[in-house]
């Protein structure tokens, strides 16, 4: 759901982290649902990575069959309530809606949220566990990919155990997406739906410390690695250890774990990077009361990886963008507190391997931006250690998988979600991770069916 | 006078005749509404007949409801 409106900042910081969009009223939902043409062979379905039968779930809203509607969504996408909020819908289903050139596209994300919100209020399980087949699967990570794989495997009759390093399950959705876009309750409900299918979720359990990879491989018939990505890597510039330097992932995560504090009120904040995480960090800083929030990016708006609606949202929140600006040094005072960020002006040069023009520093164009806080958002590191413990082939921490089965170089180990994202494999979206989880489940099931056929 | 006030007035009259021991001897309905003839009870010497014209729909319901309650 991307029609966010920013710029509504309250002095009561807790209010700033409440979900921005209130959700459709019943009337809005019925009117919007009845606008849907119920296309045959609908392009919106094809544009959805999880192939939700969108016209079908919308028709069910129109007919008052909300249970059927929610089931249609969640059957195709176990984290459909989260996706209703965080999907870049204009790039996906809504972008494909045939009404785009006719009037305006159907608000599919809002309708999906309406149906799944209804299901959340019911507090009744929508799915039943499949007949147990005696096979055990371990899933490492309880983000969208892990949850999705767990749900599907459990429906197929597998005994699933999820190992989660954090205190609570949900992964990226739980800790990585700002709560004014995705409230914790939604993620908790989705986790609960999976738990109700007899999936055992072991939180506070780090694979490699609390349980070894060997133990996992011995105790389970299959292992799914869905660990996502790690924290933000080092910038490699002076001053990174100063007080007031944050990792964007950690920065957002804190707002999802505890009540907001006043420490950023009135402060100047600079975010380095212009991806979706950078936007999340910037808008979070605004909501924590920062007086001025800037994003510095070494390329231009055309190269930024943030979605257009994310960018619009940050602009509405009053975030400033400094293009063609690269940090060279974080400046501290005697108390080791950040006081400024030294930057250099850049120019775009030749086209690099990724098809984008390479930024080139302009000699002697250094200047200093005054700031109290620097937040790093230049991408995420990889869980290389764990990947290597399993002995999986990878390239720079991106696990290599068979694109159809998501099987890794180790026969019994599968991988999905952000851990396989990068180097041209897939798209880093919650909805893609959910789809990969489903496909892993299918592939694992197929591997056993094949086995029994051979036997 | 609102129709409701008019009804209350007609109801008050109906109630007062019943309270005074009058009885209905005739109910007649035509294009002008309902005409109810009340008569004093048999014991009370000379019989006096009062005609009440009911103009409101509510009063026309009320008079019949009173008869149903009485039975």
């Amino acid at each position: 759901m991307s029609s966010l409106t920013g710029g509504q900042i309250s002095l009561n910081l807790t209010d700033n982290f409440k979900e921005i969009h209130p959700g459709l009223t019943k009337r809005e939902a019925i009117e919007e649902a009845n606008r849907c043409l119920y296309c045959y062979d609908a392009p919106c379905i094809k544009a959805c990575p999880t192939s939700i039968e969108i016209p079908k779930f919308i028709k069910k809203i129109a007919s008052g069959n909300l249970k059927g509607s929610a089931k249609t969504i969640l059957e195709a996408n176990p984290v459909g309530a989260s996706c209703a909020r965080v999907c870049p819908t204009e790039e996906l289903c809504e972008g494909a809606c045939v009404l785009n050139n006719e009037t305006k596209p159907i608000s599919i994300g809002h309708l999906q949220r309406y149906a799944t919100d209804w299901a959340m209020q019911q507090r009744k399980p929508l799915f039943e566990v499949g007949e147990r087949n005696g096979k055990k699967v371990a899933i490492i990570g309880s983000g969208p990919a892990g949850l999705s794989a767990a749900r599907e495997l459990s429906l197929l009759g597998y005994q699933v155990t999820i190992f989660e390093a954090e205190k609570e399950a949900g992964g990226l959705n739980r800790y990585g997406i700002v709560s004014f876009r995705l409230p914790t309750e939604v993620v908790q409900w989705e986790v609960e739906q999976v738990k109700q299918l007899n999936v055992d979720i072991k939180t506070n359990t780090v694979v490699g410390i609390d349980i070894t990879t060997e133990e996992l491989l011995n105790q389970f018939d299959r292992v799914v690695v869905a660990v996502g990505m790690g924290n933000v890597p080092h910038l490699g510039i002076e001053g990174e250890t100063l007080k007031g330097v944050y990792d964007a992932i950690e920065f957002v995560k804190r707002t999802k774990m505890e009540e907001p504090t006043n420490e950023l009120v009135g402060k100047k904040v600079i975010i380095i990077g212009a991806g979706n995480t950078a936007i999340d960090a910037a808008t979070t800083a605004v909501r924590l009361g920062a007086a001025n929030v800037k994003i510095v990016y070494r390329r231009t708006k055309n190269e930024m990886t943030a979605y257009q609606f994310e960018y619009d949202f940050a602009k509405q929140d009053g975030v400033e963008f400094r293009w063609l600006t690269a940090p060279t040094k974080i400046i501290g005072n005697e108390q080791n507190e950040v006081v400024g960020l030294e930057c250099i002006k850049m120019d775009l040069g030749e086209i690099g391997l990724d098809g984008r023009q390479k930024p080139v520093p302009i000699q002697q164009s250094e200047f200093v931006l005054e700031t109290d806080v620097v937040i790093k958002a230049i991408g995420q590191s990889r869980h290389i250690q764990l990947i290597e413990r399993f002995g999986l082939d990878h390239s720079k921490g991106v696990v290599e998988v068979n694109p159809e089965t998501y099987q890794t170089s180790q026969e019994k180990v599968y991988a999905c979600g952000d851990v396989v994202f990068g180097n041209g494999q897939g798209e880093a979206m919650v909805v893609t991770a959910a789809q990969q989880g489903k496909e892993v489940a299918k592939a694992i099931h197929r591997s056993f069916v094949l086995q029994s056929e051979i036997a | 006078m609102s129709e409701h006030m008019q009804y209350l007035e007609e109801k008050r009259k109906i109630d007062s005749y019943f309270d005074k021991g009058y009885q209905i001897v005739s109910i007649f309905e035509n294009l002008s509404g309902t005409f109810v003839d009340f008569v004093t009870s048999h014991d009370a010497g000379e019989r006096e007949i009062v005609e009440l014209q009911l103009l409101t729909a509510e009063a026309r319901k009320y008079i019949a409801s009173k008869l149903i309650v009485a039975n």
Binding site: - | S2, S26, N30
Partner: protein, 426 residues
């Protein structure tokens, strides 16, 4: 999962959703696609002497941007030889033995014609027959369809002829183009009908083109009346089903037809006495797949209500459908406006002020903000304000406890009867 199977006068189908005899059931290809999509039964496009159709046949009414609120057609019965249809019926039945296939029939009102066609279609294994006494256009000009369906004697006689030879259940499909449908329904029952179905389409002219002055639709500049159906006719059909269901002389099952577009419409017809429903316009608008939500929605509804079989709710609302003279005159509801929800469009005020009983006041509170309030003592409880109100929950019709006992018009008239005198107006 509730049991959605129905048994209508001996015709069984896996769910109550049948396709009505119409363009969607023209061929085996279509009916088989429909069964694959989940439809429980199909009434085959009417069989009879193959006709010739015009081109330009349909027109639809868009209501404020909502397409196909009503639908009109001048298409006639099948234009294919009987043998072709029978072969396809046979093949379809073989592939879908548990689905209901009902042959819709229309021939001239002659005993031998009816005998011939009944015998021939029953030979291929149909589950039942539906006599088309309702088609209002074209065929009626030739003395068939609605022309015979409007004459009770003809309905009775033709039903009787069919029953003389029929081995499968006979449904008589009735036309709404008649003052009182219970008269022809009774005639059908008298003739031995095992069930009745209603309604066929209503005589209609969809429109006139403002530029060419042609009718809509037109055939080379000329038009003829068609048959009207679709969501707009649902209330008319529902009443006719209800009137037949509560008539003790029409003691046969009813197949409900007319504007049914989703599971909610179907439940209404079933509650009002239909044992199953037939659908056409909604399928023509959206394709056969709409039946998926009909089945799913109906199933969820029954589960939610704790009802195990759809047959358990057939006719459950019929005792609530009565005559005006049996309605309680002392029952009173009044409109109440929830000012927290009201958006102050004043539509309730103006509808009441101009066209009802002038009891909604436009007021201002102490801050000078406008609000609306009902003078409940003057409110007649007509519902108009709640009908025009665009916001759910802004106007509620609230029941007022009455000190007076229930009194129907009929009871009132009998209570005052003994005081009525022969008087002339004064």
């Amino acid at each position: 999962m509730a049991d959605l199977r129905i048994n209508l006068a001996g015709i069984k189908s896996p769910n109550p959703f049948w396709l009505a005899s119409a363009p969607p059931t023209n061929s085996g290809y279509q009916v088989q696609r429909a069964f694959d999509a989940g439809w429980g039964g199909a009434v085959w496009k009417t069989l009879g002497e193959p006709i010739i159709n015009t081109t330009s046949r349909f027109a639809a009414l868009s209501f404020n941007g909502q397409r196909v609120a009503g639908f009109n057609n001048i298409e006639l019965i099948t234009d294919r030889p009987l043998e072709v249809n029978l072969k396809e019926i046979y093949e379809t039945k073989k592939r879908f033995p548990n689905h209901a296939i009902i042959a819709s029939l229309m021939v001239e009102p002659k005993q031998e014609k009816w005998h011939e066609i009944v015998k021939r279609v029953e030979e291929v294994g149909v589950d039942g027959l539906e006599l088309n006494f309702g088609c209002p256009h074209g065929m009626a000009e030739r003395g068939m369809g609605a022309a015979s369906g409007q004459v009770p004697e003809l309905v009775e006689k033709q039903t009787y002829w069919v029953k003389e030879v029929a081995k499968t259940p006979v449904i008589v499909k009735l036309t709404p183009n008649i003052t009182d449908i219970t008269v022809t329904a009774e005639a059908a029952v008298q003739g031995g009908a095992d069930a009745v179905s209603m309604i066929n389409t209503i005589n209609s002219l969809m429109g006139v083109d403002l530029d060419t002055w042609n009718t809509i639709p037109h055939v080379a500049g000329k038009g003829a009346h068609g048959g009207y159906c679709g969501p707009a006719v649902k209330p008319i059909a529902l009443n006719m089903v209800g009137e037949c269901a509560r008539n003790p002389l029409i003691n046969v099952p009813i197949s409900g037809i007319g504007g049914i577009s989703n599971w909610q419409d179907a439940v209404e017809f079933i509650l009002m006495g239909a044992t199953g429903v037939q659908v056409c316009t909604a399928a023509m608008h959206h394709g056969f797949s709409i039946v998926e939500d009909m089945i799913d929605g109906l199933n969820n509804y029954l589960d939610e209500k704790g009802i195990t079989s759809i047959m358990d709710i057939v006719g459950k609302a019929v005792p609530k459908y009565s005559d005006w003279g049996d309605l309680d005159l002392n029952y009173k509801v009044v409109a109440r406006i929830n000012n927290d929800v009201c958006i102050n469009c004043n539509k309730c005020h103006i509808s009441c002020e101009d066209t009802s009983h002038q009891c909604i006041d436009m007021l201002k509170n102490e801050k000078g903000e406008p609000y609306l309030k009902v003078r409940e003592e003057d409110c007649v409880g007509c519902n108009l304000c709640a009908i025009v109100c665009p916001v759910e929950g802004a106007i509620n019709m609230v029941e007022m406890k009455q000190p007076l006992p229930s009194m129907t018009w009929n009871e009132r008239q009998s209570s005052i009867a003994r005081f009525k005198m022969d008087k002339v107006a004064k």
